[in-house]
Amino acid sequence: MNNRKTSVFDGILGDNMVLSSLMVISPVIICGDTLKNAEALSYAFTSVTILSMLIASFVPKKLPYTVKIIIYAMISSLVYIPVKVATQEFYRGAIDRIGIYFPLLAVNSLIVLQSEAKFFRMPRAKMFFSLFFYVVGFDIVMLLTGLIRELLAYGTINGRVADVDLPVSGLSQPFGGFIFLGLMCGLYRWIRSLVSREKKEMRSEPYVSDN
């Protein structure tokens, strides 16, 4: 039971895929400047990743690693097609705004790299449970980034004018995305060290002395 509880919070806080491992950060940096973009990206990422991993988990384990990776990427590219059609229905105009980052979600590193390295080594039920919370972890970061950047960059929330007099227009640009995500990463690590008292682990991360 303890293991299961740990795996649940791993994806959200302990090992958040964006803030801890810096996976799938391009859409967060470039497209996470409004809540509308963030909603569409979260929806697409959740659908493509969960459906693809669900199907890919039935691929025979005995196949060579390279063949499996190509099959996983092909599966997610196929799943992407109906997800794109649905996104066009639910989030009109979102695909035009998001541009090339939309198809890139289909070949994200959670599907093509972490599937073999982590998820497909777990029992199937535990894998889906863990995967779900990793995806939720991405969605939380994506939505939070979209909300804060939109508020500070445009002075709006979900397209509605908010009473904010300190627009920082640079936050809507890619460099604003880099800096904002860097600050969020630092804040996340600080909170994680406070919550789990993992300061010792943080010190043990590779660093190079100035001397």
Partner: protein
Amino acid sequence: MFLITDLIALLAANLILTQALGTSTLFIAAGNRKNLIWTACTITVFTTVGSVAAYITDRNLPEKYSDYSLLIYTLSVGILYVILLSALYFISRDNFAKTRKYIHVSAFNCAVMGTLFTISRKASEDSSLMNLGSYIRAGFEAGIGFILAAVILTAAYRKLNSVKVPASFRGFPAMLIYLGIISMAVYALK
């Protein structure tokens, strides 16, 4: 002056600094200079050769089937992935185990797939770019841009991972902020 103009153009079109494509791969590979150089070179091979596949796809795929372009790009990169691994195996079996990781890391990442989509989008906006030469040149430039960003990150890697940086910001967060500042400078150049 000509070189400076070219360098500015290369920076302005840089896939990492302006589009954040392949940033995670860059950070992972940045820990070791040799890894970084080989990863960047392998990505350049993928973007350059992949651009040929993108050209053939864009040229022949009817507009109404454009949703299938991702599937065809993925298949093309997959075939290239197998060809490169096979070539590496036959060229040097002794070094195969050591060097295959660069191909595994480079195949399906945002830098490669994003480059193919970027080239395709530019060609659809400007028909003069819809030729094989433009595709290959754009694919090669994207790879060179990745190498350039790798060099920029390597220059500050030791400082960004220094013990003098607060523990919470050491490593990835500091590298993100650093790239953000470089990206801001490139934005100003455009």
